[in-house]
């Protein structure tokens, strides 16, 4: 009993100490918990990044969130970390301490936020963005805030978390709400495809004599190596197609399809035939013609030259023009010659009269032709059409109706006259 009575006060003191310690620690714990609870959790929170490519720069991060606590929001800290909670490690390569406010919605105060070195609880760093404003206006509810010129983390297929804390003061001292959002940068996925270069170009003859009737679905249906404009007479100019006096009622045609992004140029050069002088004009092969085309007694019909001009019956001349861009085989886009809706533009020396009205010159034409013609007999390459300057440069089976015209003089010798030409298409991809 003595011992008991002796030790009881000590035990009581120990018990009291333990109770005090427990109460103290519990108080410390709940104070800590309550301190954490002072900052309410931001809800409906997200971050939308304008690019998920690793190391991408000039990325805009748009934060969306709902503030649970009504009150001033005069400073905000954004802290990017590799984890949502715990010690913050900034994602490798990421820099959010850049840029300016890019967008916003839902804010009561129109005062924008500006970036700074921070203060209070916010110290700017590559992974910490400190923004503030002076706006003592109560804010609550859903908001968005976009911030530009952000640099993504460099590690592919990695997530990052941005811890957001709002403060009522301008100095990042009195925190109000917090919340964490997440996003990810992912491995670059490249999608590749190739489109091969295409050029379908053909020359032939056709009975088509307008701008709308298809000369054939594509080059596989274009045939013929010649056309005949019949027996010439000084009383008229024979313009293809000629179906009298031995004419075969055909025009020439050149059709082209290409996917050349920079367009294509179509040209011709007259084949130099056997003989002498004026080798590339309508002539009797092997004949010796005068050096001057003004002499009209030789077996060469004078080429009209590189400048477009009309032909008058009986005044010896030979020429060619592109009667129209025939759209009858075009399927990939709207093509209408009469309205100018085609991609292959005729050269001014071979466009008849420059209008989009199909020529009325056909067969024997008395007097002067309605349209102009040109022909270079020197063998130099001459452009007759091109899409290089067109708005749309690719060409889908547009066909040039090639009309040939010739008239003799009264001194032009009789015989079989022929002209030959090479046609060349040069696409630029």
């Amino acid at each position: 009993m003595y011992k008991l009575s002796t030790h009881t006060p000590i035990q009581l003191r120990r018990s009291l100490f333990i109770i005090q310690a427990v109460v103290l620690l519990i108080a410390i714990y709940f104070m800590a918990v309550l301190n954490q609870a002072n900052a309410a959790q931001i809800t409906s929170r997200s971050v939308t990044i304008s690019s998920g490519v690793p190391s991408a720069t000039s990325v805009t991060y748009t934060y969306g969130f709902t503030l649970p606590t009504a009150g001033n929001v005069q400073s905000i800290q954004f802290q990017a970390c590799t984890t949502a909670v715990g010690t913050c490690t900034g994602p490798t390569g990421q820099n959010i301490n850049l840029g300016t406010e890019a967008s916003r919605s839902g804010w009561s105060s129109a005062t924008t936020f500006t970036k700074s070195a921070g203060g209070g609880s916010c110290t700017a760093a590559n992974n910490v963005l400190c923004i503030s404003r002076s706006a003592a206006v109560s804010e609550s509810g859903a908001k968005t805030l976009g911030w530009n010129t952000q640099t993504n983390p460099s590690t592919a297929n990695s997530s990052f978390f941005v811890r957001i804390t709002t403060y009522s003061d301008t100095g990042w001292t009195t925190s109000v709400d917090t919340g964490t959002v997440a996003s990810a940068v992912v491995q670059t996925l490249t999608v590749n495809a190739a489109v091969a270069e295409v050029l379908n170009f053909c020359v032939g003859s056709t009975t088509v004599d307008d701008a709308t009737t298809s000369v054939g679905a594509d080059c596989s249906t274009v045939a013929g190596t010649s056309l005949n404009i019949g027996t010439l007479d000084t009383g008229s100019t024979n313009v293809s197609p000629v179906n009298t006096n031995g004419g075969d009622n055909k025009n020439g045609v050149a059709m082209i399809r290409t996917n050349a992004a920079s367009g294509a140029v179509v040209s011709y050069d007259s084949i130099q035939q056997a003989g002498s002088n004026q080798l590339g004009t309508l002539r009797i092969s092997g004949a010796s013609c005068n050096a001057s085309s003004a002499i009209l007694t030789d077996q060469c019909i004078r080429a009209i030259g590189t400048s477009q001009a009309t032909i008058t019956a009986g005044t010896e001349n030979f020429g060619m023009t592109v009667g129209a861009i025939n759209c009858g085989s075009v399927s990939s886009y709207t093509c209408t010659f009469s309205s100018g809706a085609y991609n292959l533009a005729r050269d001014t020396a071979y466009d008849g009269n420059g209008t989009n009205t199909y020529t009325t010159d056909s067969g024997p034409v008395g007097g002067t032709t309605n349209q102009g013609y040109a022909w270079d007999d020197g063998g130099t390459s001459r452009t007759i059409a091109s899409s290089a300057s067109s708005t749309t440069k690719v060409i889908d089976d547009e066909a040039m109706i090639l009309k040939f015209a010739a008239t003799p003089s009264i001194t032009t010798p009789f015989g079989l006259y022929a002209a030959q030409a090479d046609f060349i298409a040069v696409p630029t991809y």
């Binding site: 409906s44 997200s46 939308t48 969306g64 984890t83 909670v85 996925l189 490249t190 190739a194 996917n259």
Partner: protein
């Protein structure tokens, strides 16, 4: 010394209590608990007329349970923090040399694993394939079928049978009880394709959690005069989880 030890023991005990919170969600029309701890053990499919629960034993599962009055996310692996993981599993999709008489196809995979309150979306923010000079392969801005001879670039996230058997439906792992990712509207119809820069192509239905593997199915068609060149697109996928 005993007093010191006693204090330390108390501090450790309190620390354990403070650190043992696991953040799972329980939601019903009349009840919501943000953070709850399920202790060791559990049951995969315990249910009654008013209750259904799934919980993990050991550390093997994250589950979802619901009834008309109750729904729960539970398990040892239930994240106690915002969680997001997105992985692109393919680095290159080569559609080859395109032909105006046939459709070229390809596919790529990406995986999203998340734990969010309000789900997530995945958007494609990149422009359609272009050449180095800026010529664009025309994207299918409206959902439609593949048409040979028409310039088209489109995608969907389904297992297709036309113009070929390719692609796959979203794979929910381990199953639909645990994950709910799906193809978004416009990209969720078999044999129908679309591509609009900025479109959401995948999303979760309600809450976003679990793991879903998505397969992007690509198609490309050209017309006879589609401009020649090498077309390329860096597919920029952006995931936006909402917590």
């Amino acid at each position: 010394m005993k007093r010191v030890m006693l204090c330390l023991a108390l501090i450790i005990a309190l620390s354990i209590v403070a650190g043992s919170h696991v953040f799972a969600q329980y939601v019903s029309p009349s009840y919501k608990a943000e953070e709850t701890f399920f202790g060791s053990g559990g049951e995969l499919d315990a249910s009654s007329s008013n209750y259904k629960a799934q919980s993990s034993v050991g550390a093997l599962g994250v589950g979802y349970g619901s009834s008309s009055n109750y729904q729960a996310y539970s398990g040892f692996l239930t994240p106690n923090e915002p969680f997001l993981e997105m992985t692109v599993n393919t680095s290159l999709v080569d559609l080859g040399v395109l032909d105006s008489t046939a459709t070229n196809t390809g596919s790529a995979n990406f995986t999203v694993r998340a734990y969010t309150n309000s789900g997530y979306t995945v958007a494609t923010v990149s422009a359609p394939p272009q050449t180095s000079t800026g010529v664009t392969l025309t994207p299918m801005t409206s959902q439609g079928a593949s048409a040979v001879g028409t310039e088209q670039f489109g995608i969907n996230l389904r297992a297709n049978t036309s113009p070929a058997t390719f692609g796959a439906d979203p794979t929910l792992q381990p199953d639909s009880t645990f994950a709910d990712g799906q193809a978004a509207t416009g990209y969720s119809t078999v044999n129908q394709y679309k591509y609009n820069q900025g479109d959401v192509i995948a999303q979760t239905n309600t809450s976003g959690w679990g793991q879903t593997t998505y397969t992007i199915s690509y198609i490309a068609n050209i017309k006879s005069i589609t401009r020649a060149g090498a077309y390329s697109m860096v597919q920029d996928l952006v995931v936006v989880p909402t917590y």
